[in-house]
């Protein structure tokens, strides 16, 4: 039983962490939290099921297509919901514009794909048992993203440009960095990561439109607890969240597990609004 709690918990935790990283990548580039993070995860599952199960594409074609769709949606998010409201960041219009876009996609999916949760195809034709692919796929995806981002940020020029933008947007622009193009690239990257999260976790979460608000909430918990823009914090907090949720699920039952997660989330935030490892508020006057 403990084994099952741990493998499910870690796998779900990895999905939450990936959505958390999706939030972070968008936040670093634009200082904006976007409600579309969970929508990307939902799209990863639904599109994966659509391409591979319904349209019968091979994995080698379906998987890149899902990631490409994620990147495209990331770019659309940037153009439609983020760029127009960036100049008045203090009015928090981005909360509304990204919420609107997330709802549009979610409702469209609900109408066109249906409100039923549909099965996600098994990606590799290997027998079930023990440590199944539905558990190790999200873990693999999470590890790949962490290593990939680390390599990108530390060892490539564009990665360093991303870091510069997230550290100090004005200074980076003054240095001549193409801020707008970098921001779009970041959103495309976030789109890929979010879609990957939904795709890798497809077998566990199924292809279901309701995953969008669920992932938007549970994916934000690691960001809030791990500190904004802090990917390592997001991974640690995501794994803890997954384990805690599964343990509570097993011990007190599903509904009270989500009540427990929510209560802990609120209490931690009230005690430390900047997250467990974040830094305090900026100057306001």
């Amino acid at each position: 039983m403990v084994e099952s709690i741990v493998s499910t918990g870690v796998a779900i935790g990895c999905i939450y962490a990936l959505i958390g990283i999706t939030y972070n990548v968008m936040f670093s580039a634009s200082r904006v939290f976007s409600f579309t993070a969970g929508t990307l995860g939902m799209l990863g599952g639904v599109l994966g099921s659509l391409f591979i199960a319904r349209m019968g594409m091979p994995l080698a074609a379906g998987f890149p297509l899902v990631l490409a769709a994620g990147a495209l949606f990331g770019i659309i998010t940037e153009i439609v919901a983020v760029r127009p409201v960036l100049k008045s960041l203090d009015q928090h219009l981005y909360v509304l514009s990204t919420l609107a876009l997330a709802l549009i996609i979610q409702q469209f999916t609900a109408i066109e794909w249906g409100t039923e949760a549909r099965p996600f195809p098994r990606l590799f034709d290997i027998p079930r048992g023990g440590f199944d692919q539905q558990f190790w796929l999200p873990m693999l995806a999470c590890a790949a993203v962490i290593v990939g981002l680390e390599l990108l940020y530390r060892h490539t020029l564009i990665g360093r440009a991303f870091l510069a933008i997230s550290e100090d947007n004005y200074a980076a622009r003054a240095l001549g960095l193409p801020e707008r193009r970098l921001r779009m690239t970041s959103y495309a990257l976030a789109g890929v990561i979010g879609a990957l999260a939904g795709f890798a976790g497809g077998e566990m979460l199924l292809a279901f439109f309701g995953n969008a608000p669920m992932l938007t909430f549970y994916g934000f918990v690691p960001v809030a607890l791990g500190g904004m823009g802090n990917n390592r914090g997001a991974v640690v907090a995501g794994l803890l969240l997954g384990l805690f949720q599964q343990a509570a699920n097993f011990l007190v039952g599903g509904i009270f597990a989500s009540v427990a997660v929510f209560t802990v989330f609120i209490l931690v935030l009230l005690a430390r609004p900047e997250g467990l490892v974040g830094t305090a508020l900026q100057r306001r006057v």
Binding site: L96, A100, F220, I255, I266, V285
Partner: protein
């Protein structure tokens, strides 16, 4: 305030177009339409219009939270659910002997008020997006609990809604019951909107630091608003349950929450009429075209995106004809320093505001390094120095934004507590900001009235019900604000939306707002920045009049002329240290100051 009586004629001429009757006309029209509705509509449309009334009961309260206070509460359906179940369960007698439906509804309102406070409280600590997510999470949880707590809520099977006895048992009777409550909610929220509490909410939304500087206590005010909003939302829930006649957790989807939220934004922030029209529109629109029902939430979302990107002001902005008339292009600000004495009244015996050996560092940088400063009442004290020398930081230490690492800040010998920023206003310390902090969507007069918030005596409940003390407060604040505007030379612009003003006018608006406190000490952060030479001259005259009335003025400035013409004493800062202090004449000839700053 009968001294302001002679200014009243100008007030009525300025505000003539915005007379109370004109503003109430659309509401009266809706009232007549609503009462007469059963004459034309029938059957199915009766249900739709009753539903619109029920929704509006909730939206009217949520409007204060979202539209006025600017808190992005997207999960308010949780309170509807809570109210629906509380009323139904109590009236059905699932857990205890059945209660009369009216009592059940009243208890639901109480429960709603408590939960409104619980859901709302995180807003005091959390940033916008965090709060939005929190309310979203709460909405999910409440539905899940309703589903799981079978012994009380009936789980997925549900529970019967309450039935209100005669005369409200028939469909039309119930319609009038809901319509009456909706009308009362409209009246109450309109009262709050036009009160010092409503203005304080918009100040919290658009200019939070200015709200603090005016002495507005965010926790107390938001607490009251969340309780009111929770209570009416729960009442709406009880009505909703009666209208549905049977409720299951499926009835309370997030789509409903989104409808409430979007109705407010489509209507426009800071308006009552706009969200009311928005609610009617969103409730009835899908009924005109059956195929639209499935797509309704999709369309609401598209509408939200369009509104946010194209018309952030919503319907209210489209209907705001008054502010589309062009303003005079050549307008001069002519302050009337002679009015200052009348405005500020008898000088409070304030003594001195004193900083002693104050040290403040950020990391390794000493922003203020051993500063001594004494601001005496009745004097203008200049604080000058190059950029980054610690002038604004000094101001922020006095206002309570930073705790000095060493040294003391005292008022009349008593230490000023740090971080109780809104208490500064109660000690009659007022301030302005380097970039004006103004509620752009409110009129200039309303902006100035914000400055007098703490001088009102009525409570939030008195404002809700428009009791005499509330009305007295409003008259007093309006008259004082008109006098303050006349004193700074802006009374002709009193009715204009503040975001249509020029930069220099905003600076004078901020000064008028600060004067509303009848300050013992007035802290001005670069009030002359962006002013023309003429305006700077008139500003100097105004400052001298303020000092003559007994107020101590701290003037942070770069304009050497203004400093030397108006200040009684000047302190010069450089890199956080005091370079020199003395009379303007001494400073003007101080060799180091001339070298480092003034140039020679």
């Amino acid at each position: 305030m009968d001294t302001a009586a002679q200014l009243r004629p100008s007030r009525t001429s300025v505000l003539g177009s915005a007379s109370p009757l004109g503003a109430a006309l659309p509401f009266l029209a809706l009232l007549v339409l609503g009462i007469a509705f059963p004459l034309f509509g029938g059957g199915y449309w009766g249900v739709i219009v009753t539903r619109a009334c029920v929704y509006w009961v909730l939206v009217s309260g949520l409007n204060l939270v979202v539209g006025f206070a600017g808190q992005i509460a997207i999960g308010w359906v949780a309170l509807l659910t809570l109210g629906a179940y509380t009323t139904s369960v109590l009236a059905a007698g699932n857990v205890m002997p059945a209660l009369p439906p009216y009592l059940a509804l009243a208890i639901a309102a109480l429960v709603g008020a408590i939960f409104g406070l619980i859901i709302g409280l995180p807003a005091l600590r959390l940033r916008t997006f965090y709060f939005a997510i929190t309310t979203l999470g709460f909405a999910t949880i409440v539905t899940q609990v309703a589903l799981a707590w079978q012994s009380v809520t009936g789980g997925g099977v549900g529970v019967a809604g309450p039935i209100f006895p005669e005369p409200f048992a028939s469909p039309w009777g119930f319609y009038y019951f809901c319509f009456g409550l909706a009308a009362i909610c409209t009246w109450m929220t309109a009262n709050v909107a036009a009160s010092r509490f409503g203005r304080a909410l918009t100040a919290i939304r658009d200019a939070e630091v200015a709200a603090e500087a005016s002495g507005i206590s965010k926790p107390a005010l938001l607490g009251a608003v969340f309780m009111f909003s929770g209570a009416v939302a729960a009442v709406a829930g009880g009505l909703f349950a009666a209208l549905q006649s049977y409720i299951t957790p499926d009835a309370f989807t997030l789509d409903l929450s989104i409808l409430f939220f979007i109705a407010i934004l489509i209507g426009g922030r800071g308006s009552i009429l706009g969200p009311l029209l928005g609610t009617i529109l969103l409730t009835t629109l899908p009924e005109f075209a059956a195929p639209l029902v499935a797509w309704s939430t999709f369309l609401y979302a598209v509408l939200l995106l369009v509104i946010v990107l194209a018309i952030p002001g919503g319907i209210a902005e489209i209907l705001d004809f008054k502010n589309r008339r062009p303003l005079e292009s050549e307008r001069a600000i002519i302050p009337r320093p002679d009015l200052i004495e009348r405005l500020l009244g008898a000088p409070p015996d304030a003594g001195a505001l004193r900083l002693e050996q104050v040290v403040l560092s950020f990391g390794g940088v000493r922003a203020i390094d051993g500063l001594d400063l004494e601001i005496r009442s009745g004097q203008v004290h200049g604080l000058i120095g190059p950029n980054g020398s610690g002038k604004t930081t000094t101001l922020n230490v006095i206002s309570g934004y930073y705790a000095p690492h060493r040294g003391a800040v005292s008022l009349n010998g008593a230490a000023l507590p740090v971080f109780t920023r809104h208490r500064r206003a109660h000690m009659r310390i007022a301030r302005t900001f380097q970039t004006p902090r103004i509620v752009g969507s409110a009129s200039v007069l309303e902006n100035v009235m914000i400055g007098g918030t703490i001088d009102g005596e009525g409570t939030f409940v008195e404002s809700l019900l428009s009791l005499p003390r509330h009305r007295r407060d409003e008259v007093m604040l309006r008259d004082t604000a008109m006098l303050a505007l006349a004193a700074v030379g802006l009374e002709r612009l009193a009715a204009v939306r503040a975001d249509r003003l020029q930069h220099s006018e905003l600076r004078f608006t901020e000064i008028a707002r600060a004067l509303m406190l009848r300050p013992a000490f007035l802290l001005l952060d670069e009030p002359a920045a962006g002013l023309s030479a003429d305006e700077i001259g008139r500003l100097g005259g105004l400052l001298l009049a303020i000092a003559r009335a007994g107020t101590g003025v701290l003037l942070v400035e770069h304009h050497a002329d203004l400093i030397f013409d108006t200040c009684h004493r000047v302190t010069v800062l450089n890199l956080g240290r005091m370079l020199a202090a003395g009379t303007p004449a001494e400073i003007r000839s101080h060799r180091e100051v001339v070298n480092a700053y003034l140039g020679g």
